[in-house]
Protein backbone atom coordinates (compact mmCIF):
# COMPACT_ATOMS: atom_id res chain seq x y z
CA UNK A 1 0.00 0.00 0.00
CA UNK A 2 1.33 3.43 -0.98
CA UNK A 3 1.79 6.03 1.76
CA UNK A 4 0.37 9.37 0.57
CA UNK A 5 1.57 12.34 2.60
CA UNK A 6 0.55 15.99 2.78
CA UNK A 7 2.71 19.04 2.11
CA UNK A 8 1.61 22.65 2.46
CA UNK A 9 4.99 24.14 1.63
CA UNK A 10 8.14 23.14 -0.27
CA UNK A 11 9.95 22.61 3.05
CA UNK A 12 7.22 20.24 4.22
CA UNK A 13 7.44 18.38 0.92
CA UNK A 14 11.17 17.93 1.36
CA UNK A 15 10.60 16.62 4.89
CA UNK A 16 7.90 14.22 3.71
CA UNK A 17 10.30 12.85 1.08
CA UNK A 18 12.93 12.33 3.77
CA UNK A 19 10.47 10.74 6.18
CA UNK A 20 9.42 7.96 3.84
CA UNK A 21 6.49 9.09 1.72
CA UNK A 22 5.71 7.12 -1.44
CA UNK A 23 3.75 10.05 -2.80
CA UNK A 24 2.99 13.58 -1.68
CA UNK A 25 -0.09 15.66 -2.40
CA UNK A 26 -0.07 19.44 -2.51
CA UNK A 27 -1.72 22.33 -4.30
CA UNK A 28 -1.31 25.77 -5.82
CA UNK A 29 -1.63 28.91 -3.71
CA UNK A 30 -5.12 29.83 -4.84
CA UNK A 31 -8.72 28.73 -4.48
CA UNK A 32 -8.29 25.72 -6.77
CA UNK A 33 -7.24 23.58 -3.84
CA UNK A 34 -9.15 22.72 -0.70
CA UNK A 35 -6.46 24.00 1.68
CA UNK A 36 -6.32 27.61 0.54
CA UNK A 37 -4.87 29.04 3.77
CA UNK A 38 -2.80 32.23 4.26
CA UNK A 39 0.90 31.65 3.64
CA UNK A 40 0.35 28.07 2.53
CA UNK A 41 0.80 26.18 -0.76
CA UNK A 42 2.97 26.42 -3.84
CA UNK A 43 3.49 28.98 -6.57
CA UNK A 44 4.26 27.62 -10.04
CA UNK A 45 8.02 27.76 -9.67
CA UNK A 46 7.92 26.09 -6.24
CA UNK A 47 5.66 23.37 -7.64
CA UNK A 48 8.01 22.65 -10.54
CA UNK A 49 11.09 22.56 -8.31
CA UNK A 50 9.37 20.49 -5.63
CA UNK A 51 8.14 17.88 -8.11
CA UNK A 52 11.62 17.64 -9.57
CA UNK A 53 13.04 17.16 -6.07
CA UNK A 54 10.53 14.43 -5.22
CA UNK A 55 11.18 12.65 -8.51
CA UNK A 56 14.92 12.58 -7.80
CA UNK A 57 14.08 10.40 -4.79
CA UNK A 58 11.52 8.27 -6.60
CA UNK A 59 8.60 9.94 -4.81
CA UNK A 60 5.44 10.87 -6.74
CA UNK A 61 3.64 14.19 -6.44
CA UNK A 62 -0.13 14.42 -6.76
CA UNK A 63 -1.52 17.92 -7.31
CA UNK A 64 -4.87 18.65 -5.69
CA UNK A 65 -7.11 20.84 -7.84
CA UNK A 66 -10.08 19.81 -5.82
CA UNK A 67 -12.44 22.71 -5.29
CA UNK A 68 -15.49 23.24 -7.49
CA UNK A 69 -14.98 25.64 -10.38
CA UNK A 70 -17.25 28.65 -10.45
CA UNK A 71 -19.44 29.25 -13.46
CA UNK A 72 -17.98 32.12 -15.44
CA UNK A 73 -14.51 31.71 -13.97
CA UNK A 74 -13.33 28.25 -14.96
CA UNK A 75 -10.07 29.54 -16.40
CA UNK A 76 -8.41 29.55 -12.97
CA UNK A 77 -9.04 25.79 -12.67
CA UNK A 78 -8.05 25.05 -16.27
CA UNK A 79 -4.83 27.00 -15.85
CA UNK A 80 -4.07 25.05 -12.68
CA UNK A 81 -4.56 21.81 -14.61
CA UNK A 82 -2.34 22.94 -17.49
CA UNK A 83 0.38 24.15 -15.13
CA UNK A 84 0.33 21.00 -12.98
CA UNK A 85 0.69 18.87 -16.12
CA UNK A 86 3.55 21.08 -17.29
CA UNK A 87 5.21 20.71 -13.87
CA UNK A 88 5.07 16.91 -14.45
CA UNK A 89 2.64 16.05 -11.70
CA UNK A 90 2.20 12.30 -11.40
CA UNK A 91 -1.56 12.68 -10.94
CA UNK A 92 -4.20 15.35 -10.52
CA UNK A 93 -6.69 15.03 -7.68
CA UNK A 94 -9.95 16.54 -8.91
CA UNK A 95 -13.50 16.82 -7.56
CA UNK A 96 -15.41 18.85 -10.16
CA UNK A 97 -16.80 16.97 -13.19
CA UNK A 98 -16.16 20.01 -15.39
CA UNK A 99 -12.50 20.08 -14.40
CA UNK A 100 -12.26 16.30 -14.84
CA UNK A 101 -13.73 16.64 -18.31
CA UNK A 102 -11.12 19.29 -19.14
CA UNK A 103 -8.32 17.02 -17.91
CA UNK A 104 -9.63 14.05 -19.89
CA UNK A 105 -10.04 16.02 -23.12
CA UNK A 106 -6.99 18.27 -22.95
CA UNK A 107 -4.49 15.98 -21.26
CA UNK A 108 -5.71 12.43 -21.96
CA UNK A 109 -2.40 10.91 -20.83
CA UNK A 110 -2.52 12.62 -17.43
CA UNK A 111 -3.35 10.31 -14.54
CA UNK A 112 -6.54 11.42 -12.78
CA UNK A 113 -7.62 10.71 -9.20
CA UNK A 114 -11.11 11.43 -7.87
CA UNK A 115 -10.81 13.70 -4.83
CA UNK A 116 -12.50 12.88 -1.54
CA UNK A 117 -14.38 16.13 -2.19
CA UNK A 118 -16.32 14.35 -4.96
CA UNK A 119 -17.88 12.18 -2.25
CA UNK A 120 -17.84 9.10 -4.46
CA UNK A 121 -19.06 6.62 -1.86
CA UNK A 122 -20.58 3.81 -3.92
CA UNK A 123 -19.61 1.69 -6.95
CA UNK A 124 -22.07 3.37 -9.32
CA UNK A 125 -20.71 6.79 -8.56
CA UNK A 126 -17.10 5.64 -8.92
CA UNK A 127 -17.89 3.80 -12.15
CA UNK A 128 -19.19 7.08 -13.58
CA UNK A 129 -15.83 8.79 -12.98
CA UNK A 130 -13.87 5.85 -14.36
CA UNK A 131 -15.98 5.45 -17.51
CA UNK A 132 -16.49 9.16 -18.22
CA UNK A 133 -13.05 10.55 -17.45
CA UNK A 134 -10.70 7.59 -17.17
CA UNK A 135 -10.08 8.08 -13.43
CA UNK A 136 -7.47 5.67 -12.15
CA UNK A 137 -8.06 6.08 -8.42
CA UNK A 138 -10.77 7.27 -6.07
CA UNK A 139 -10.16 8.76 -2.64
CA UNK A 140 -13.01 7.37 -0.55
CA UNK A 141 -14.97 9.64 1.81
CA UNK A 142 -14.48 9.11 5.52
CA UNK A 143 -18.03 7.83 6.00
CA UNK A 144 -17.43 4.18 5.10
CA UNK A 145 -16.70 1.18 7.31
CA UNK A 146 -13.82 -1.14 6.38
CA UNK A 147 -16.22 -3.88 5.12
CA UNK A 148 -17.90 -1.24 2.93
CA UNK A 149 -14.48 -0.14 1.64
CA UNK A 150 -13.63 -3.77 0.87
CA UNK A 151 -16.91 -4.27 -0.99
CA UNK A 152 -16.43 -1.13 -3.07
CA UNK A 153 -12.80 -1.98 -3.86
CA UNK A 154 -13.90 -5.42 -5.13
CA UNK A 155 -16.54 -3.93 -7.39
CA UNK A 156 -14.77 -1.02 -9.08
CA UNK A 157 -12.22 -0.93 -11.88
CA UNK A 158 -9.91 1.57 -10.26
CA UNK A 159 -7.66 1.84 -7.25
CA UNK A 160 -9.03 3.01 -3.91
CA UNK A 161 -7.29 5.35 -1.46
CA UNK A 162 -8.40 5.92 2.14
CA UNK A 163 -7.46 8.31 4.92
CA UNK A 164 -5.57 6.83 7.86
CA UNK A 165 -4.70 9.86 9.97
CA UNK A 166 -5.59 13.48 10.62
CA UNK A 167 -8.49 15.88 10.71
CA UNK A 168 -11.77 14.08 10.33
CA UNK A 169 -14.71 15.41 8.34
CA UNK A 170 -17.86 13.85 9.70
CA UNK A 171 -20.08 15.17 6.93
CA UNK A 172 -20.20 13.83 3.42
CA UNK A 173 -17.27 15.66 1.95
CA UNK A 174 -17.80 18.13 -0.84
CA UNK A 175 -21.42 18.47 0.27
CA UNK A 176 -20.95 20.13 3.67
CA UNK A 177 -22.30 23.67 3.96
CA UNK A 178 -21.67 24.34 7.65
CA UNK A 179 -18.63 26.56 7.12
CA UNK A 180 -20.43 28.39 4.34
CA UNK A 181 -23.45 28.90 6.61
CA UNK A 182 -21.32 30.42 9.37
CA UNK A 183 -18.77 32.39 7.37
CA UNK A 184 -19.81 32.60 3.72
CA UNK A 185 -16.76 30.52 2.74
CA UNK A 186 -16.47 26.79 2.30
CA UNK A 187 -13.82 24.19 1.50
CA UNK A 188 -15.83 23.24 -1.57
CA UNK A 189 -15.83 26.62 -3.30
CA UNK A 190 -13.12 28.66 -1.59
CA UNK A 191 -10.76 26.00 -0.25
CA UNK A 192 -11.25 26.91 3.38
CA UNK A 193 -13.30 25.26 6.11
CA UNK A 194 -13.79 27.67 9.01
CA UNK A 195 -11.47 30.31 7.51
CA UNK A 196 -8.92 31.93 9.81
CA UNK A 197 -10.39 35.36 9.11
CA UNK A 198 -13.65 34.32 10.80
CA UNK A 199 -12.04 32.76 13.90
CA UNK A 200 -11.71 34.44 17.27
CA UNK A 201 -10.13 33.05 20.43
CA UNK A 202 -10.54 34.58 23.86
CA UNK A 203 -9.15 33.56 27.25
CA UNK A 204 -11.56 34.04 30.15
CA UNK A 205 -10.44 33.05 33.65
CA UNK A 206 -8.29 30.29 32.23
CA UNK A 207 -11.01 29.01 29.90
CA UNK A 208 -10.56 29.25 26.14
CA UNK A 209 -13.57 30.43 24.16
CA UNK A 210 -13.56 29.84 20.41
CA UNK A 211 -15.87 31.59 17.97
CA UNK A 212 -16.51 31.21 14.26
CA UNK A 213 -18.29 34.14 12.65
CA UNK A 214 -21.17 34.97 14.96
CA UNK A 215 -21.22 31.57 16.64
CA UNK A 216 -19.56 30.50 19.87
CA UNK A 217 -18.24 27.05 19.01
CA UNK A 218 -16.72 25.89 22.26
CA UNK A 219 -15.53 26.77 25.72
CA UNK A 220 -12.58 24.69 26.91
CA UNK A 221 -11.99 24.57 30.64
CA UNK A 222 -8.56 25.40 32.00
CA UNK A 223 -6.18 22.62 30.95
CA UNK A 224 -8.74 20.91 28.70
CA UNK A 225 -7.36 19.99 25.26
CA UNK A 226 -8.51 22.42 22.58
CA UNK A 227 -9.77 21.88 19.04
CA UNK A 228 -10.42 23.71 15.80
CA UNK A 229 -13.53 25.91 15.85
CA UNK A 230 -15.58 23.97 13.29
CA UNK A 231 -19.36 23.74 13.58
CA UNK A 232 -19.33 19.96 13.17
CA UNK A 233 -17.19 19.61 16.30
CA UNK A 234 -18.80 22.36 18.34
CA UNK A 235 -20.19 21.86 21.83
CA UNK A 236 -23.90 22.62 21.88
CA UNK A 237 -26.36 23.46 24.62
CA UNK A 238 -29.61 21.53 24.13
CA UNK A 239 -32.55 20.36 26.26
CA UNK A 240 -30.58 17.14 26.80
CA UNK A 241 -27.60 19.03 28.19
CA UNK A 242 -24.32 20.31 26.82
CA UNK A 243 -22.17 18.22 24.52
CA UNK A 244 -20.86 17.35 21.09
CA UNK A 245 -23.92 16.71 18.91
CA UNK A 246 -22.20 15.67 15.69
CA UNK A 247 -18.69 14.52 16.60
CA UNK A 248 -16.14 14.83 19.37
CA UNK A 249 -13.09 16.91 18.48
CA UNK A 250 -10.69 14.08 17.67
CA UNK A 251 -8.39 13.11 14.82
CA UNK A 252 -8.66 9.97 12.77
CA UNK A 253 -6.00 7.38 13.58
CA UNK A 254 -6.43 4.11 11.69
CA UNK A 255 -3.14 2.55 12.77
CA UNK A 256 -4.94 -0.42 14.29
CA UNK A 257 -6.98 -0.88 11.09
CA UNK A 258 -3.97 -1.25 8.77
CA UNK A 259 -4.17 -5.08 8.59
CA UNK A 260 -7.88 -4.89 7.68
CA UNK A 261 -7.29 -2.15 5.11
CA UNK A 262 -4.63 -4.32 3.51
CA UNK A 263 -7.09 -7.23 3.42
CA UNK A 264 -9.63 -4.87 1.82
CA UNK A 265 -7.04 -4.39 -0.97
CA UNK A 266 -6.94 -0.61 -0.83
CA UNK A 267 -4.04 0.73 -2.89
CA UNK A 268 -3.10 3.83 -0.96
CA UNK A 269 -3.21 5.24 2.56
CA UNK A 270 -3.54 8.98 2.97
CA UNK A 271 -2.42 11.26 5.79
CA UNK A 272 -4.42 14.48 6.19
CA UNK A 273 -2.75 17.75 7.17
CA UNK A 274 -1.42 20.02 4.44
CA UNK A 275 -2.10 22.92 6.82
CA UNK A 276 0.12 21.44 9.54
CA UNK A 277 3.77 22.24 10.25
CA UNK A 278 6.91 20.33 9.35
CA UNK A 279 7.09 18.78 12.83
CA UNK A 280 3.71 17.10 12.23
CA UNK A 281 4.61 15.95 8.72
CA UNK A 282 7.91 14.41 9.76
CA UNK A 283 6.58 12.65 12.84
CA UNK A 284 3.35 11.30 11.31
CA UNK A 285 4.97 10.15 8.08
CA UNK A 286 7.81 8.38 9.92
CA UNK A 287 5.36 6.75 12.32
CA UNK A 288 3.24 5.33 9.50
CA UNK A 289 6.29 4.31 7.47
CA UNK A 290 7.46 2.27 10.48
CA UNK A 291 3.94 0.89 10.95
CA UNK A 292 3.82 -0.29 7.33
CA UNK A 293 7.23 -1.93 7.66
CA UNK A 294 6.02 -3.68 10.83
CA UNK A 295 2.87 -4.81 8.99
CA UNK A 296 4.96 -6.16 6.12
CA UNK A 297 7.23 -8.05 8.49
CA UNK A 298 4.35 -9.44 10.56
CA UNK A 299 5.39 -7.57 13.70
CA UNK A 300 2.91 -5.86 16.06
CA UNK A 301 2.11 -2.29 15.04
CA UNK A 302 2.62 0.30 17.78
CA UNK A 303 -0.57 2.32 18.35
CA UNK A 304 -1.54 5.61 20.02
CA UNK A 305 1.83 7.21 19.29
CA UNK A 306 0.36 10.34 17.76
CA UNK A 307 -2.20 11.51 20.31
CA UNK A 308 -0.10 14.58 21.13
CA UNK A 309 -0.49 15.81 17.56
CA UNK A 310 -4.21 15.17 17.36
CA UNK A 311 -7.11 17.59 17.54
CA UNK A 312 -8.45 17.54 21.10
CA UNK A 313 -5.41 15.34 21.88
CA UNK A 314 -7.52 12.27 21.20
CA UNK A 315 -8.07 9.94 18.28
CA UNK A 316 -10.80 7.79 16.79
CA UNK A 317 -11.15 5.16 14.07
CA UNK A 318 -14.22 7.08 12.95
CA UNK A 319 -16.54 5.33 10.51
CA UNK A 320 -14.07 2.49 9.90
CA UNK A 321 -15.73 0.78 12.87
CA UNK A 322 -19.35 1.87 12.99
CA UNK A 323 -19.81 0.96 16.64
CA UNK A 324 -23.07 2.92 16.79
CA UNK A 325 -24.79 0.49 14.40
Amino acid sequence: MELICPAGTPAALHDAVGAGADAIYCGFNDETNARNFPGLNFNREEMRDSIAHAHRYGVKVLVAINTFARAGNVDLWRRAVDDAVECEADALIVADVGVMDYVARTHPQQRLHVSVQAAAANPDSIRFYVESFGAKRVVLPRVLSVPEIAAITREVDCETEVFIFGGLCVMEEGRCSLSSYATGKSPNMDGVCSPAGAIQYREENGALISRLGNFTINKFAKGEAAAYPTLCKGRYQTDEGCGYLFEDPASLDATTMLPELRKAKVSALKIEGRQRGRAYIERVVKTFRHALIALEEGRPIPADELNGLSEGQSTTVGAYKKTWR
Binding site: T9, A11, G223, Q275, R276, A279, R283
Partner: protein, 168 residues
Protein backbone atom coordinates in the same frame (compact mmCIF):
# COMPACT_ATOMS: atom_id res chain seq x y z
CA UNK B 1 15.15 29.59 34.46
CA UNK B 2 18.47 31.47 34.04
CA UNK B 3 17.27 33.28 30.94
CA UNK B 4 14.25 34.62 32.83
CA UNK B 5 16.43 35.78 35.71
CA UNK B 6 18.87 37.52 33.41
CA UNK B 7 16.16 39.24 31.39
CA UNK B 8 14.58 40.58 34.59
CA UNK B 9 17.67 42.55 35.57
CA UNK B 10 19.44 43.29 32.29
CA UNK B 11 18.62 46.36 30.18
CA UNK B 12 16.61 45.64 27.03
CA UNK B 13 18.70 47.68 24.58
CA UNK B 14 21.50 45.10 23.99
CA UNK B 15 18.90 42.41 23.35
CA UNK B 16 17.07 44.70 20.96
CA UNK B 17 20.29 45.38 19.04
CA UNK B 18 21.04 41.66 18.87
CA UNK B 19 17.56 40.89 17.58
CA UNK B 20 17.85 43.68 15.03
CA UNK B 21 21.00 42.04 13.62
CA UNK B 22 19.23 38.70 13.65
CA UNK B 23 16.23 40.09 11.77
CA UNK B 24 18.43 41.69 9.10
CA UNK B 25 20.19 38.35 8.59
CA UNK B 26 16.84 36.61 8.27
CA UNK B 27 15.63 39.21 5.78
CA UNK B 28 18.61 38.66 3.51
CA UNK B 29 18.75 34.87 3.85
CA UNK B 30 15.05 34.04 3.84
CA UNK B 31 13.27 36.48 1.50
CA UNK B 32 10.52 33.91 0.82
CA UNK B 33 9.12 34.58 4.30
CA UNK B 34 7.87 37.95 3.09
CA UNK B 35 6.33 36.45 -0.05
CA UNK B 36 4.34 34.01 2.07
CA UNK B 37 3.27 36.71 4.51
CA UNK B 38 1.77 38.70 1.62
CA UNK B 39 -0.38 41.53 2.93
CA UNK B 40 0.38 40.50 6.52
CA UNK B 41 3.87 42.05 6.32
CA UNK B 42 2.14 45.20 7.53
CA UNK B 43 0.84 43.58 10.72
CA UNK B 44 2.20 43.96 14.26
CA UNK B 45 2.68 40.68 16.08
CA UNK B 46 3.02 40.45 19.84
CA UNK B 47 5.25 37.54 20.83
CA UNK B 48 4.89 36.85 24.52
CA UNK B 49 7.19 34.27 26.14
CA UNK B 50 5.22 33.51 29.30
CA UNK B 51 8.30 32.39 31.22
CA UNK B 52 10.18 35.65 30.63
CA UNK B 53 9.49 39.11 32.05
CA UNK B 54 9.61 40.63 28.58
CA UNK B 55 7.90 40.39 25.22
CA UNK B 56 8.52 41.28 21.58
CA UNK B 57 6.63 43.28 19.00
CA UNK B 58 7.46 41.98 15.55
CA UNK B 59 6.75 44.07 12.46
CA UNK B 60 7.82 41.89 9.52
CA UNK B 61 7.87 44.68 6.93
CA UNK B 62 9.59 43.55 3.77
CA UNK B 63 11.93 46.53 3.40
CA UNK B 64 12.43 47.36 7.04
CA UNK B 65 11.50 44.53 9.42
CA UNK B 66 11.62 45.49 13.07
CA UNK B 67 11.43 43.83 16.43
CA UNK B 68 10.98 45.79 19.63
CA UNK B 69 11.71 44.36 23.07
CA UNK B 70 9.21 45.47 25.71
CA UNK B 71 8.47 44.61 29.33
CA UNK B 72 4.78 44.12 28.53
CA UNK B 73 2.97 44.04 25.20
CA UNK B 74 1.40 47.36 24.24
CA UNK B 75 -2.28 47.48 23.25
CA UNK B 76 -3.04 47.51 19.57
CA UNK B 77 -0.96 44.60 18.28
CA UNK B 78 -2.81 42.77 15.51
CA UNK B 79 -2.16 39.32 16.91
CA UNK B 80 -0.61 37.81 20.03
CA UNK B 81 1.17 34.49 20.36
CA UNK B 82 2.03 33.52 23.94
CA UNK B 83 3.73 30.48 25.40
CA UNK B 84 6.99 29.21 26.90
CA UNK B 85 10.07 30.53 25.10
CA UNK B 86 11.13 27.02 24.12
CA UNK B 87 7.73 26.41 22.49
CA UNK B 88 7.91 29.66 20.54
CA UNK B 89 11.44 28.89 19.35
CA UNK B 90 10.55 25.25 18.66
CA UNK B 91 7.73 26.36 16.37
CA UNK B 92 10.12 28.43 14.30
CA UNK B 93 12.78 25.75 13.82
CA UNK B 94 10.31 22.98 13.02
CA UNK B 95 10.71 21.06 16.29
CA UNK B 96 7.11 21.64 17.36
CA UNK B 97 3.86 21.73 15.46
CA UNK B 98 1.95 24.94 16.20
CA UNK B 99 -1.48 23.28 16.01
CA UNK B 100 -0.39 20.60 18.49
CA UNK B 101 0.87 23.28 20.89
CA UNK B 102 -2.52 24.97 20.56
CA UNK B 103 -4.43 21.73 21.17
CA UNK B 104 -2.37 21.05 24.29
CA UNK B 105 -2.93 24.66 25.45
CA UNK B 106 0.82 25.25 25.64
CA UNK B 107 0.43 28.32 23.48
CA UNK B 108 -2.32 30.91 23.39
CA UNK B 109 -3.22 32.90 20.31
CA UNK B 110 -5.59 35.77 19.85
CA UNK B 111 -6.26 38.61 17.46
CA UNK B 112 -5.99 38.38 13.68
CA UNK B 113 -5.92 34.63 12.98
CA UNK B 114 -5.16 35.07 9.28
CA UNK B 115 -2.03 36.96 10.27
CA UNK B 116 -1.06 34.24 12.76
CA UNK B 117 -1.59 31.43 10.24
CA UNK B 118 0.38 33.30 7.55
CA UNK B 119 3.30 33.92 9.93
CA UNK B 120 3.34 30.31 11.08
CA UNK B 121 3.34 28.99 7.51
CA UNK B 122 5.93 31.50 6.31
CA UNK B 123 8.36 30.66 9.10
CA UNK B 124 7.76 26.92 8.90
CA UNK B 125 8.63 26.92 5.20
CA UNK B 126 11.71 29.10 5.66
CA UNK B 127 13.49 26.71 8.07
CA UNK B 128 14.74 29.82 9.82
CA UNK B 129 16.63 28.95 12.98
CA UNK B 130 16.42 31.99 15.26
CA UNK B 131 19.03 30.79 17.71
CA UNK B 132 21.57 30.04 14.99
CA UNK B 133 20.82 33.33 13.18
CA UNK B 134 21.15 35.37 16.36
CA UNK B 135 24.68 34.15 17.06
CA UNK B 136 25.95 33.76 13.48
CA UNK B 137 27.73 37.14 13.65
CA UNK B 138 29.93 35.81 16.50
CA UNK B 139 32.06 33.85 14.02
CA UNK B 140 34.03 31.03 15.66
CA UNK B 141 32.18 31.55 18.96
CA UNK B 142 28.80 31.04 17.30
CA UNK B 143 28.64 27.26 17.65
CA UNK B 144 29.47 26.96 21.38
CA UNK B 145 27.22 29.90 22.27
CA UNK B 146 24.39 28.49 20.20
CA UNK B 147 24.77 25.17 22.03
CA UNK B 148 24.68 26.99 25.35
CA UNK B 149 21.55 28.91 24.37
CA UNK B 150 19.78 25.77 23.20
CA UNK B 151 20.43 24.16 26.56
CA UNK B 152 18.99 27.19 28.31
CA UNK B 153 15.79 27.62 26.32
CA UNK B 154 14.83 24.10 25.31
CA UNK B 155 15.45 21.50 27.98
CA UNK B 156 14.88 17.99 26.55
CA UNK B 157 12.21 17.17 29.13
CA UNK B 158 9.97 19.84 27.61
CA UNK B 159 9.93 18.05 24.27
CA UNK B 160 8.95 14.79 25.94
CA UNK B 161 6.12 16.40 27.88
CA UNK B 162 4.78 17.96 24.70
CA UNK B 163 4.50 14.62 22.95
CA UNK B 164 5.66 16.39 19.82
CA UNK B 165 8.95 17.18 18.22
CA UNK B 166 11.33 16.00 15.61
CA UNK B 167 11.86 12.43 16.78
CA UNK B 168 10.11 9.25 15.77
Amino acid sequence: MPVALASRVLPLLPLQLLLGICLREIRSRHPRIFDRLGSHTGKRYGLDPTDLPLAFVLEPRRMNPRVTVVRTLPPGVDARIAGPLSALIGMTDGSYDGDALFFSRDIQIDGDMEAVVALRNAIDDSRVDFLAESVAWLGPLATPIERLLRGLVAPPSFRQEMGVGGGG
